[in-house]
């Protein structure tokens, strides 16, 4: 279902370009993400989707072009500053703290909201700051891991690990959430659960979602807008419906998965 979306954009990239030597991973990508929408970035492997995410999050610095998050230029910001602007991100290759408990995984992420003075105070207790623990619980609730919070993260199932990765990104209530293949490496029967989790996040907290996905059903059920990339360049943009009717996209991308 198409939902009514407000018009102001929370994030924009202008002619974003990144080269690795000769190879152009991302070329002149103009992306405009509207608040509260779910914007899917699709494309075959090596289309430069993850590179685009890395550029947005500041892991990589662009060769040219700029990134704006809610009007502020973040092109040269280090990752933690961009995160401080309310950009959360989950990873294609799972990135969690395997040897910590599920709760601690999320709590430590929430703790990053704490003032430096409290974070550096050697005589306070990590666990006496209850608000972070409560935030962590909320994040775990919303992705549906609350019952597993005491377990060490390493024992979780792949789908739960995906959810945990998402919860870590959600811990500090980001306004923009970048999900890099939330269903990647998840077994077929678990995929609905993960998609359900993302849906739940949208309903409960309604962050702006920027989504990389291959699974068509996931895209259909989640995304309002789609941007199709191929060899680093954007080849089509529009609402999910439009893109589905776009032949060019059909034969470039959907043709291969179908």
């Amino acid at each position: 279902m198409e939902r009514a979306v407000p018009e102001f954009e929370v994030m924009r990239t202008e002619a974003l370009t990144r080269r690795f030597g000769e190879k152009v991973a991302v070329s002149k990508v103009n992306l405009s993400v509207k608040a509260g929408t779910c914007h899917a970035v699709v494309g075959p492997n090596g289309a430069g989707k993850s590179t685009l995410f890395n550029l947005i999050c500041g892991v990589l610095k662009p060769t040219a072009g700029r990134v704006l998050v809610s009007g502020i230029e973040t092109t040269r910001f280090p990752p933690h500053k961009i995160a401080a602007l309310g950009v959360g991100r989950s990873f294609q290759v799972l990135s969690i703290f395997s040897n910590l408990t599920v709760l601690e995984n999320v709590r430590i992420a929430a703790q990053s909201l704490g003032r430096t003075r409290t974070n550096l105070n050697p005589f306070s207790f990590a666990y006496s700051e209850t608000r972070f623990i409560e935030m962590a619980h909320e994040a775990l609730e919303v992705v549906g891991l609350a019952d597993k919070s005491p377990l060490p993260a390493s024992v979780l199932t792949p789908s739960d690990k995906r959810k945990l990765d998402m919860a870590i990104a959600l811990a500090r209530k980001p306004r923009i959430l970048l999900l890099d293949e939330p269903t990647g490496g998840v077994s077929i029967e678990d995929i609905p659960a993960v998609i359900g989790a993302v849906k739940n996040v949208r309903e409960k907290w309604n962050p702006t979602l920027l989504l990389i996905e291959h699974k068509m059903e996931a895209i259909k059920s989640l995304a309002d807008f789609m941007t199709v990339m191929d060899r680093g360049a954007v080849i089509a943009e529009g609402t999910t419906g439009e893109i589905e009717r776009n032949e060019h996209v059909q034969e470039v991308y959907l043709g291969r998965t179908a």
Binding site: V59, F97, I168, A169
Partner: protein, 407 residues
């Protein structure tokens, strides 16, 4: 208000009662067993234990491999020498040592923004070696290869000081007694409380009993008084630092350290300036390294050579950590105890097991030791004990009646 602070203080003591017990036990040793030999060695063990502890903050807790730690240690040691011989008070010298250690470590840490992993290890190695080679040439301030005689503060040669320490120890003993009674009052922990009380009473009693004129009269020789006092002071500093560090690992910063070790990139992505936190940790670790260096210079060693800045000490502390168990604060300390204990007593042990000739094969022994530790104790003594021995320890606690004392 007062009530809550008192409660906080009490809970602090409750947390560290084992530490207190260990401290009391060690501090009563010179009374129970007044052997200059063992006191000298244990003083050195404590120093190295603290050094290993400071290294574990960096390597074990934060996962940063640094080969320059000896620079903080050695510069701390020499800072005491310089400041104290310049005529400033001892505490100021120690403070300077800690500061210098911290500054050195931070200076190395600044490279972390760009240099990572093995390259950072090599960078720190070079950094420390340059300092070492430079200062070894400055014969006027470091004594060159021959080194200098350690600065030994006068007040440590005063026999009266020992009673200050005994006062501290008695205080600690009293606190332990309180908690033993406390646990005795708790239903189910009776046996442990009673046993503990009796043991403590016997220990303190025997200590006081053995404090007779023969021991005291021997304290009039400055060297004897110094040895006893240096031992007690080093014990105090080591246990105090251990308490602080273990406290630190419960703090938010401790949690951050662990998370950085587990997954530094993700920490960046969730909004931590990991580089800055790493610098903070380098600074703290440098503080303690400098302190241990100060202990070496003024308490534990007889002479001070620039070698204390050389890679040898870094490699030793690496061995301590691996042997004891990386990341388990106490592990490196124990590792240091074990290695240095072997190092000093290899002669005794050799003659004890009837092969006195191996006393001169230290390098071979330590080498085989390295290999054996790495291959046989992959998680170190404490690591293995904490994984395998957790069950045993619980069983033990049940056996002595503390089974359900955990919340």
């Amino acid at each position: 208000m007062a009530g809550t602070t008192a409660a906080a203080v009490l809970s602090e003591f409750a947390r560290s009662r084992w530490l207190l017990a260990a401290f009391v036990l060690m501090s009563l040793l010179p009374l129970v067993y007044p052997s200059l030999y063992w006191l000298t060695i244990l003083c050195y063990l404590f120093t190295m234990g603290l050094f290993a502890l400071s290294y574990d903050l960096v390597l074990g807790r934060t996962g940063v491999l640094s080969f320059g730690h000896a620079a903080c240690f050695g510069l701390g040691a020499y800072a005491v020498y310089w400041v104290y011989l310049a005529g400033y008070p001892f505490w100021l010298a120690v403070a300077t040592a800690m500061l210098l250690g911290a500054v050195t470590n931070v200076a190395m840490g600044t490279a972390l923004r760009r240099v990572k992993g093995v390259y950072f290890a090599m960078f720190t190695l070079a950094f420390a070696e340059i300092i070492y080679l430079y200062l070894e040439k400055q014969t006027s301030i470091t004594g060159g290869t021959g080194g200098v005689f350690s600065p030994r503060p006068d007040f440590l040669q005063n026999p009266a000081l020992i009673f200050v320490f005994i006062g501290i120890v008695v205080l600690a003993a009293v606190f332990i007694a309180c908690f033993l009674v406390f646990s005795y009052m708790r239903k189910g922990a009776r046996v442990r409380g009673a046993v503990g009380l009796v043991l403590l009473a016997c220990l303190v009693g025997y200590a006081l009993y053995s404090l007779d004129s023969s021991v005291l009269s021997q304290l009039q020789a400055p060297i004897n008084a110094f040895t006893v006092n240096a031992y007690l002071l080093s014990a105090l500093l080591m246990f105090l630092s251990y308490y602080l560090v273990s406290r630190l690992s419960l703090s938010p910063l401790g949690a951050i350290m662990t998370a950085i070790r587990e997954n530094g990139e993700r920490m960046d992505m969730v909004g931590y300036d990991t580089f800055r936190y790493k610098l903070v940790i380098m600074a703290i670790s440098g503080l303690f390294a400098g302190l241990s260096g100060a202990m070496l210079a003024s308490l534990a060693s007889f002479i001070l050579t620039p070698d204390v800045m050389s890679a040898t000490y870094t490699l030793n502390v690496l061995l301590y950590s691996i042997l004891g168990g990386i990341g388990t604060l106490v592990g490196p300390v124990i590792g240091a105890f074990v290695v240095e204990f072997l190092h000093f007593n290899i002669g005794n042990i050799a003659s004890f097991i009837g092969v006195p000739s191996i006393a001169n094969w230290w390098m071979l022994i330590i080498g085989v030791f390295y290999v054996a530790v790495v291959l046989l104790l992959p998680y170190g003594i404490v690591g293995t004990a904490m994984m395998k021995g957790r069950r045993t320890l619980d069983a033990l606690r049940k056996a002595v009646g503390g089974g359900e004392s955990r919340a």
